[in-house]
Symmetry: C3
Subunit: 340 residues, 3 copies
């Protein structure tokens, strides 16, 4: 790996992040690793109980863990209320976050009336449309296409090959991964005399500060008003967000989720992978939807909701599924029996 | 927003689109808005009954609605048989459909034997392969890749970063959104002595006139013959269309649908979001599949079909799902009871 | 179609591929076709029993088929143990696999310390980052973005618009289709005082020899260690592979599958379209998962597993689904009845 190596003592990390040191504070770490894979100079962590059995045999130089697990650590450790959070913060010290290299690559094509901050970095093969603005410290990676009337806030990063079609406004420190498409036309159609006619999509997309948008995720522009992500929304890869959806602050959405038009999702929600949410409904704050579940009606109570069915061996599954197809009949016969 | 503003009187719109005017025909509108969001100079519409309650309080300059709702409008209105269609048509007057700016961007790389109509617009960072043809009035946006032996019909638009891999033929007025990939190899594999061998994919993709292909949607090229979309097929985002699929005219497919190889879907079908359709089957005309449903066998009767299960609170769900896993047993016991 | 035409006699093909010739060995074929579509100069095949009824009427010049079907062939044929494999190999003779045209396109942007083999082909609008290496005979198609510290093995092909974000290492003869994104950050988040903080993703992606990655598929880089595809893994389009997933050799995954972080999938598995696999679990070798099924726990026995429910007409479905929501209750009442 490239870059000069950084290193820290456990004592120093404990002080910086307000953690409790257990063991030799002079131990030096210069990178991170998993419990099973880390070597002597590396810091590891234990947050997920699944990996607890790996603690005893770890060869890591030190481990970040909770008070409950600290007694079992064979090596020096940093005790944290939330080991995952502490590890995330420490880990960020080692990962070289490359500073933007301000300037516009010679190959980039920038509209005359676009405004690029002198502190922004515009990579090769980028095109920027009319009246668009790129903020200070923003990085527009190779192959990005930014259409007309867009805005990229300060410190935001479009990693590579991101498309902002038109009227897309990103706040500060937004991170968008490759292949994401923001601001494509929503799916608005009306059937007229046996043929579809396209309903013009004239709204935009507004993405709040500190949002993250995964690779190949799509967020359509609104039909009339905007599609909105409030601040600190986190979208994984391959997600589809329809026109005029609104997602509340601090909500996280796992990969391959489909959200249909005009759905409103609250704050602090967690949407599991490949879940589906139909249009024109509302999900309140603090709702968790588990993987591959389908939401077809508004949810008004916080809590966890599911409809993803787990696999069985196919023979059993087919037998049960066949019965499901007559479940109503079965229940009626059951009802008749009970009554008699 | 950019562009010069257009404006129309209600009376003028009524005449142009054959609508019934109710109220002051001299009212001028210069844009569109939602019932809740529109101001005095804006035209709104009421098509979805969910929004009926917003009519009374609207501040819109005028509203397009049905005869049934016209009595409740607090503002002048245009009465239409299909308010959504009428609104779509009127709305198109306001959305500036940018005319192509004919010419080939200096950065584009065009094969010597490719044929680009002088009336076509080729954007920056576009590459066009051997023997491909771009029709009059077509727009190839920034970053598109067009391989060999492709054809883009007159008036078609590839918004940006679209890939036509090879042997992809688009009709007239086709619109393809960013990230879409047409003509990638179908998933053809044969297991030979413990290793996969690739089955060559030598067919193409044929897309009829007036189709629309959403962002990051994929349509694979056929294995031998072509994958075909008939005219006026509308695909939303993130859809996967396998090799040798055929989709009938005027069918609309919502986001994240997966259609496996050699499936044939009829005309005027509606496929709901994230539905799955397995391969080598046939769906007749005028079939509706609801969201997250799975089609594993041919459908020969028009109508609506479902298998997407909606969420319950997770505790209830888990209990019910556990019973489902023994449903066949339950039904057998039930049968035994009934017989006795 | 372009290119000079190749042609072969049946006798020659029989000898080359060790097939049994039935009928006139001097028959010449110059291309391939389906049973229904092939003409006299074309070779067809019968592998899927669904198409057996098309054999009698075929106008193909010859057919590749199994011994069981050979008696029914109206035309000369090549008898194979696995007709699909034999056809795949013969078909590859006709499909012109374009030889790489070594060299770096004038528009490409290559980092000073990147190493491009003189036998590699780098297309237009490609960018290659620091310390990355491109092997002999590799083809990097138009619009690809290769970040820092990546490696593309000899003979590998990135068709077009592929992104290797960083620390992505592809083996030999890997084929990646347009829009695929390898090495984007995994979805690692920790909630800290009401806000998400990003967990740095510092691992890479390792893809073994002879893998194929479909269009718009994403493979995230590992959080700490690498995300790994062993050799000969075949991924279709629109698949999402989370961080630190490991997929065993010779496993094939159909389109739109979602695999969550740290899942381990064995060798020789077949994962059906739009299936979901949750994180931190293990699937053993030789497991088949059918379409739209959800795996939430480890699978330790080879075999076929399902949970994808097939459609019914919506009216029946709704009735049955309503009963499902009270299935636990129904089963309890059933239990009570049985006891009495």
């Amino acid at each position: 790996m490239a870059g000069q190596e950084k290193q820290f003592t456990l004592a120093g990390l404990a002080e910086t992040f307000g953690l409790v040191l257990q063991g030799d504070g002079s131990v030096v770490v210069h990178g991170v690793g998993t419990l099973a894979g880390a070597g002597p100079g590396q810091l590891s962590f234990l947050a997920n109980p699944r990996y607890r059995r790996e603690l005893a045999a770890t060869r890591a130089g030190a481990v970040v863990l909770s008070a409950d697990d600290a007694g079992d650590s064979p090596v020096p450790c940093l005790v944290a209320k939330s080991p995952y959070v502490a590890f995330a913060k420490i880990s960020a010290l080692f990962e070289p976050a490359p500073a933007p290299a301000p300037g516009i690559h010679a190959s980039a094509v920038v509209a005359d009336d676009a405004l690029v901050d002198p502190g922004a970095q515009i990579g090769p093969f980028v095109s920027i449309g009319a009246r668009s603005r790129i903020g200070a410290g923003a990085v527009i990676g190779p192959g990005c296409v930014i259409g007309d009337d867009c805005e990229v806030g300060p410190g935001s990063v479009l990693v590579a090959r991101v498309t902002l079609v038109t009227r897309v406004r990103l706040g500060a420190r937004v991170r968008v991964h490759p292949g994401a498409v923001l601001g494509a036309d929503g799916f608005g159609l009306a059937m007229d005399a046996g043929r579809w006619i396209k309903v013009p999509q004239v709204g935009g997309v507004v993405v709040g500060d500190d949002c993250e948008i995964g690779a190949n995720t799509c967020i359509d522009r609104g039909a009339i008003e905007d599609t909105v992500l409030e601040e600190d929304v986190r979208l994984d890869n391959q997600i589809q967000i329809g026109h005029n959806v609104r997602i509340g602050a601090h909500t996280a959405v796992a990969g391959c989720v489909a959200v249909a038009g005009s759905a409103r999702i609250g704050r602090y929600c967690l949407i599991g992978g490949a879940a589906g949410i139909t249009g024109h409904l509302e999900i309140c704050d603090k709702v968790t939807i588990t993987a591959m579940s389908l939401v077809t009606q508004s949810i008004t109570e916080p809590g966890e909701y599911s409809s993803g069915m787990a696999v069985q061996d196919s023979r059993s599954w087919r037998r049960n599924a066949a019965r499901f197809r007559q479940l109503d009949q079965l229940a009626r016969r059951m009802g008749a029996l009970t009554k008699d």
